[in-house]
Symmetry: C2
Subunit: 427 residues, 2 copies
């Protein structure tokens, strides 16, 4: 007995999950392998980090998402290698055989060779990151409340965000709201509106993937919220007590106890494993070069999708956003099914449906290529799209309620300092 065609998917992010779902009802066995037991809605991670939403509202247990899909099972495990000849995915504690493999393990924070910055300037790629960052941000206000020395207090109240992409902009807007609205009545010794929020970007403008006009509008909105934007400035040093910037005007030191890394991501290290063990070629950043049908040269049974993939015939890689991964996941599923039926599918083509970013309360930017706009409408569109794609009806309703409350009362219900003490606390 040959058995059913076994599809193994590595990674339960947008790419992997949409691939699994697109295989529903097909005559294949699907195994979804992930280190975590949940699908994480990464675009809302910054809202956990800033106390708007609670972790479980943006994370759905993978087993719950796939419980009614009888041909799919979930495997909690960490992939360490691959045996491409024997068609086995090697896990830390076992192995999983496959006929088709879909590698969708995404990206992680990247510090451009400054790995020592990670300890003092956390990124925002996982739930643990978000809880860590939430603790760091909320603790800074607590420490400022207790600090009698004005200079040290100002360092606790200075927040530097490195990176002016959507995550940096969204974090900046959220921090400004916390400082100027949410916490306004919460402290007695400090005035949270004294907080200084700095958004640092190396390029000439923030939100470089948007048209110039919308970048300018976003910068204007941030300024109205009290976020200072610094463009054409490079970060040359980060340590526990602050950040060193270097620009046309020379070098500047900013004392800050909270430096947040939103500057760069690197593809998952599994790309390197595919290069070593399956002959995959990588681009300069470490993405896997794939054929137009998203497979590795010489291994038509290994698909690579999402942030980890770079289609070799494209000049530049597709942006590392959820819609690319989702479309590639669905494409891969269709390609596998078509092949099993003896057919084939055309090359993958990305349908860019537009680009959204939110800046704060009732402000956003929207870009649809031929036209773009900013303001309340873009913000509402952002809310709608994010609610729509959030997995699970219950989470959609809970998040909708949280947002409604927050809009009306400026409160943030999930402002908890949990976990273990950070470096620099209680000193």
């Amino acid at each position: 007995m040959a058995g059913r065609h076994r599809v193994v998917i590595l990674g339960g992010g947008f790419g992997g999950l949409y691939a699994a779902k697109a295989l529903r009802g097909q005559d294949v066995d699907v195994t979804l392998v992930d280190r975590h037991n949940y699908h994480l809605f990464q675009p809302l991670l910054y809202q956990v980090a800033t106390g708007s939403l609670s972790p479980s509202e943006i994370a759905s247990p993978l087993r719950a998402v796939l419980r009614n899909q009888k041909n799919a099972r979930v495997w909690l495990g960490e992939a360490t290698s691959i045996d491409a000849e024997a068609r086995q995915l090697i896990l830390k504690d076992g192995s999983v055989p496959y006929d088709s493999l879909i590698v969708a393990c995404g990206a992680q924070s990247h510090y451009f060779g400054h790995d020592d910055w990670e300890a003092v300037s956390p990124g925002l790629k996982s739930l643990e990151d978000a809880i860590h960052l939430r603790r760091k941000v909320l603790y800074a206000f607590e420490a400022a409340e207790r600090e009698p020395d004005p200079a040290r207090r100002q360092a606790w109240l200075t927040f530097v965000i490195v990176g002016g992409g959507p995550t940096g902009v969204e974090l900046g807007g959220a921090l400004a709201e916390i400082a100027h609205n949410t916490l306004r009545s919460d402290f007695r010794s400090i005035h949270p509106e004294e907080a200084r929020i700095l958004l640092v970007e190396g390029e000439t403008r923030i939100l470089t993937t948007f048209p110039e006009k919308l970048s300018a509008a976003a910068e204007q909105s941030l300024a109205e919220l009290g976020v200072q934007t610094r463009t054409k400035v490079k970060v040359t040093g980060i340590d526990e007590s602050g950040v060193t910037l270097s620009g046309a005007a020379g070098t500047e030191r900013i004392e800050s106890r909270t430096v947040i890394w939103a500057a760069g991501v690197a593809p998952s290290g599994f790309g390197k494993i595919l290069a070593e063990r399956a002959g995959a070629k990588l681009d300069r950043e470490g993405r896997v070069m794939v054929t137009p049908d998203l497979t590795i040269e010489g291994h038509p049974e290994i698909f690579v999708i999402g942030d980890l993939a770079h289609v070799a015939t494209d000049a530049a890689p597709l942006p590392g956003v959820a819609p690319v991964a989702m479309q590639q996941g669905a494409y891969t599923a269709h390609a596998i099914v078509a092949r099993l039926r003896g057919g084939n599918v055309a090359a993958f083509h990305y349908h860019d449906k537009g680009n959204l970013a939110v800046i704060g309360r009732a402000a956003g930017v929207a870009d649809f290529g031929t036209f773009g706009f900013h303001g309340v409408l873009a913000w509402l569109l952002w809310l709608f799209v994010h609610l729509m794609y959030l997995a699970g009806f219950q989470n959609r309703l809970l998040v909708f309620m949280r947002w409604g409350f927050q809009y009306l009362t400026f409160s943030r219900g999930s402002r908890l300092i949990t976990g273990w003490p950070l470096q620099g606390e209680q000193e």
Copy 2:
């Protein structure tokens, strides 16, 4: 200028928070000191541990709770000692002067001299405990799904709860629901209904604070849910692979990867500090013996309330439940205000409004001294009372929704394995 009377409250649990709130609008300065930035609704902690609720739904930021109380401020800090002569509470990083001090730091899990059990058999007193336990419980099912050896698999699917008080009973009922309903369709290799849930109690019956008839009803309800109750059995050993029980029938070894400690609590270690530094007397368990007005002999300005207090004239200490702490908190506030006005208050008297415990879906027990009942009505009453006392309208609504969803769909929205790997994972 003498300044206003300074009331310092140590601990933001039920006792401390109700004391602070009862001082609203009074001519005193209130400082509430806590290690955490939130008030934790401990009676619902087991629902976080079992994935029903998310941490932020049962924890309210103290600053948010007290933001409109202008005479109160919150101080994030850890008390390490006291200078009773100089009237200073000593923190890890400073000190806080007081005119009246209210010590309300509660209790912690207690292993009766077996501190090594803590690592393998976590208790349930903090949010971190609950997240840790949630991880442990959910991981056990994941590990069982991957385990080919039947005996080892059964050990992963065996859950032992030590202690048949309300927490143990509620945990047992919740675990049974998870195993038999929530996860029923989620796994492919294992059948979660094969899970074995054991509730171990050293006394002759569970829920010893309830009348015998209600204990029997609770045991019956648990049996219907598939929870085995073992009374008159002592735990003599706990390690990573299981638990050793000792009863009239001899010694028995049960292989289990998940042993949960719901057996005992001990008063906070701050009692010992009060004994050493302020001459307080302790009872055998470490509670502070207090006068009928809840102060320490010789220090009428130091109040001790809640789980840490034992009124010297009472035969037995009051039960360590929220209503006692709440009433003592309010009493203390009134006593301080009365004294400032030159008056005095009568001795503290606890009004026992009844006793509730929930066993599972639509089953509970209620005891009102002169009468008691069990079943759906007790369960509804439990739901109502817990919702009513939960801090914050937003949390009340969110929890209500979660419970509604869960009742209708058996789903548990907060089933996340977060945090760091536990001992025994990925082996």
